[in-house]
Symmetry: C2
Subunit: 552 residues, 2 copies
């Protein structure tokens, strides 16, 4: 009996690290391989990537990977994954252009990777799968939904999308093809849940273009525009407005410069002749001839706009008369740092234009009315809300219930869930063991819960190191206790506390000797316990206490 | 020549730690003494309080302190301040009730503090100052603006406020008195800027009451309502709805229980006879007879709702059929933890009602139209926007400019600014040296930038401790290098790395001996530098490196 298995490795019950496996006749097709940016409790972690153990165990069964679009949360894990999996990658021109740039930067074996360009609208065989890319809209150009044709009917994978009726590149979503596939009897629809709580329609990117133009019309000084480095349409707005109102454009921020170049080379960004200037040359221009495109719309500590706001950008200092446009909304968790950047820019005298006071950003994700339209076009039997926290998936599920999708045919998955879809029935039949994989510097997976717990404790109250030296033969204490702290108290002002602690520990150690306690673990435990109690009682803090015993 | 000096100790250019000094004829009046909850970069810090060095230096010149309302960001610093300053405190009944409870909990000398109750509408002498409390609305009952009468005209201090035309307690703001004072020729208006970016009017608290009632009408299972423990009107809604729809109310969360009791005793909260039940007794009731009031609306890790969501509340486990109402909006920075709580509650099967999907919360702060009304009622010569980040102050300033306040008469202050107001001219004449004071456990001010920097580094990449033992006489190395790490890598999986590091350090130390380098600081520097380079090259991390040298 025919059946399809669905195994998400990420992107359900969370925003980011989108990766999905479809399994048919024992063959695997992978969709996307994204990263997730770490949440607040993942101290020191740079990225979270999907756990691909299941893929490694079933490597010979993989036919390939197809990419929906070029955002980090859909392609960012490739450098980590292609290290271990040698599989062909399919995607459209822009997506693969961004992948190539990413791989050549991060990955020595980049040349060995087979990248296969696919045009929207044409059917492509990926091993045993037949896949078609279907144009939708999103905050990066050439985003596609996927149709995967199976004996049980097509599966539609509507990764991140919106329906923009007046898109910047003029290419509206392929409503007709979605409807046509809908008439074939779609087995399952996977659909973007990011904005499942937002009523109505998401505004067109065109609205942002108009707002940006307004700023160009009304500003006499320099204009600095910060946005996501991947938002090529947003960049286009800036180039268009600059041309219309006689400004040159300089670009700052590495990712912005790179993406601009890639999008330009591949024909996705129209940069008018002679409009680009080097940042170092803008001083030769009048203020009202300057527009600057920059990274830092999320208040990232090292990004160009953040540096400008802190007044430590090497080439640009913000001053009265400048207008700064923050053309992005803060990703949840970034509200404070973005707010801080805005406050600093105001303090420097700039006029700041940002989302909460004007419409200089629109979401790239479909709101509730568009989600309904997608579902009504595709008319699936089974529905799997993806790309959202649990509450988004929940609301998306309730939404399509209203459209007539049966509750028992809607599946809220977790990473690792195994969903089996048959013609008559879908059910979760088990799950693949799954862990998140943390990337910290060059280390992938070497930081786990123990290290994170320690970092958390260290971040709260610091560490006290206690060193004692024992006589190798008799086990007598011949040095210490020496106390060193970091992140605990400002030592010069707390000498008394440390001295008291030392005296207290000397007594503890004396007691150990008197009672003939020589086992290192016992001595360490006593030190830890005594010092913990002492410190907590004195100043209600709970630092990590690290006793070190040495022998000579 | 008469003049008034204004010195904010906090609450300008920041949200929280509101505290203001007015200085007239060398005498000081203090308004409020609030705390600020620490931002993300203040690792391990519990509270930030104003730096009161200036008050300590001028103690004999202080006439007293008057409080506008009972929120933490206006009274929370009192236990720390009254320790050092013996001054009389003035405020209305509810505010002082909350202060009393706070002091008796935190403060041994609570009984010695002179608390003087003042009724709104009556003029009170505080030393050389004449002060009148004027009723406004806010998210805590009996919030007042202040009028301080001076020879140069009255000063109006409109601390946190909104104008609620249908308030829960029936007491609308005293528009008439504000207008009357406005006609006296007001010298200066200080006004709440929190919502200076929000267009229109803030909704009435009544709207929330209606929404809460809707939930009571439509729910069959238990109803759990989380809100701020200080929002007495919100609690009143819950008691009212519970009475109307035949539910008992149980309360969980220490601050909620305390505030409920104080507000009830002082007559601000009407708790219908027999409606309160102990939490442990709710199991005797049917689900549709139960309403639970709880803390945790901000996702605070130890609060009752957060525990319920994590399934580790001792008395309540959330299950399908329960409706949870999160009647608050996340304070900036808390979005993620609040979202996490909501996701967990959904996963447990509860229905969750929260602000982004329904109107179960309204702000306590005036929006732009109300800010205009306040300014037009009071008609001040000078305007000082307070209670906001810089961008809020900035927009508030632009707003009142539109009303005809002259730009040169508007002052955006920073903590410590000294603003001098004369009949003909106001100007910033200098500033008081000012630091923020950090509270961590029982320590006040013993954590500064060095400790915070260490905590930040520790939180990102952990610590490596290197211990070596020298021979006291000859300075030879007779023990170590011993390497211990915390928060760096999971040691069992990284043994090789640590062993390599050890071998590398042995060479460094050998070199030291060969070159006869015996100065401890030089040896430590070499260890630090070599290990830093080694670790960064190997895995691109940057832990704190702590060399410890012992001698025996």
């Amino acid at each position: 009996m025919d059946s399809i298995r669905v195994i998400p490795l990420g992107g359900v019950g969370e925003i980011g690290k989108n990766m999905m496996i479809l399994e048919k006749d024992k063959r695997l097709l992978i969709i996307d391989a994204g990263v997730k940016f770490p949440e607040g409790d993942l101290l020191g972690i740079d990225l979270v990537i999907p756990d691909i153990s299941y893929l490694l165990e079933n490597q010979e069964r993989i036919d390939g990977m197809v990419l929906t679009h070029g955002h980090e949360d859909h392609i960012g894990a490739l450098p980590f994954i292609l290290d271990q999996l040698n599989i062909p990658i399919y995607g459209n021109r822009l997506t693969l252009g961004l992948v190539k740039a990413k791989l050549s930067e991060n990955f020595s074996a980049a040349d060995d990777i087979k990248l296969q360009e696919v045009s929207p609208g044409e059917k492509t065989s990926i091993g045993n799968f037949t896949v078609e890319l279907i144009r939708v809209n999103h905050s990066i150009a050439e985003t596609c939904a996927l149709a995967i044709f199976t004996d049980l009917g097509p599966i539609v994978y509507a990764s991140d999308f919106k329906f923009d009726q007046t898109p910047v590149d003029g290419i509206v979503a392929d409503f007709h093809r979605l409807g046509e596939i809908g008439d074939m009897g779609v087995l399952a629809l996977f659909s973007d849940s990011t904005n499942a709580e937002v009523e109505g329609y998401t505004f067109s990117e065109k609205v942002v273009g108009e707002k940006i133009e307004e700023v160009f019309i009304s500003s006499r000084g320099r204009i600095i525009v910060a946005t996501f480095a991947s938002n090529i349409h947003r960049m286009q707005h800036v180039f268009d407005a600059a041309q219309k109102y006689n400004r040159k454009v300089a670009i700052t921020g590495r990712s912005m410069i790179n993406n601009c170049q890639i999008a330009h080379e591949l024909g996705y960004l129209n940069i008018p002749e002679g409009i680009l200037v080097e940042l170092r040359d803008i001083s030769k221009l009048e203020n009202d001839q300057i527009a600057i495109l920059t990274t830092g719309s999320q208040g990232e500590p090292m990004a160009a706009l953040t540096r400008m706001a802190r007044n430590d950008h090497r080439q640009i200092s913000v001053h009265p008369g400048d207008t700064v446009l923050v053309s992005a909304s803060p990703i949840p968790g970034n509200e404070r740092v973005v707010g801080d950047t805005i406050n600093r820019l105001y303090r420097l005298g700039a006029k700041v234009v940002y989302q909460s006071i004007s419409g200089v950003h629109v979401s790239g994700h479909a709101s509730r009315e568009e989600l309904k339209l997608m579902c009504n076009l595709v008319k699936p039997k089974y529905f799997i809300p993806v790309h959202g926290e649990y509450r988004h998936l929940y609301h998306h599920a309730r939404l399509v219930e209203e459209l007539g999708i049966k509750k028992e045919n809607i599946f809220l998955l977790e990473p690792g869930s195994i969903l089996e879809l048959k013609a008559d029935k879908g059910e979760i039949v088990g799950n693949v063991d799954m862990d998140r994989v943390l990337v910290d510097g060059l280390g992938v997976g070497d930081v786990g819960n123990v290290v994170l717990r320690d970092r958390r404790m260290l971040s709260q109250d610091g560490i006290i190191v206690v060193v004692i030296i024992l006589d190798e033969e008799k086990g007598h204490i011949i040095g210490g206790p020496e106390i060193i702290t970091r992140g605990f108290v400002y030592i010069k002002e707390s000498e008394e506390l440390i001295n008291e602690a030392k005296a207290m520990l000397e007594n503890v150690l004396k007691e150990c000797q008197e009672k003939d306690i020589t086992k290192w673990s016992s001595i360490k435990n006593r030190i830890r316990k005594a010092l913990h109690n002492f410190v907590y009682q004195k100043i209600k803090r709970n630092p990590i206490i690290l006793p070190v015993i040495m022998e000579v």
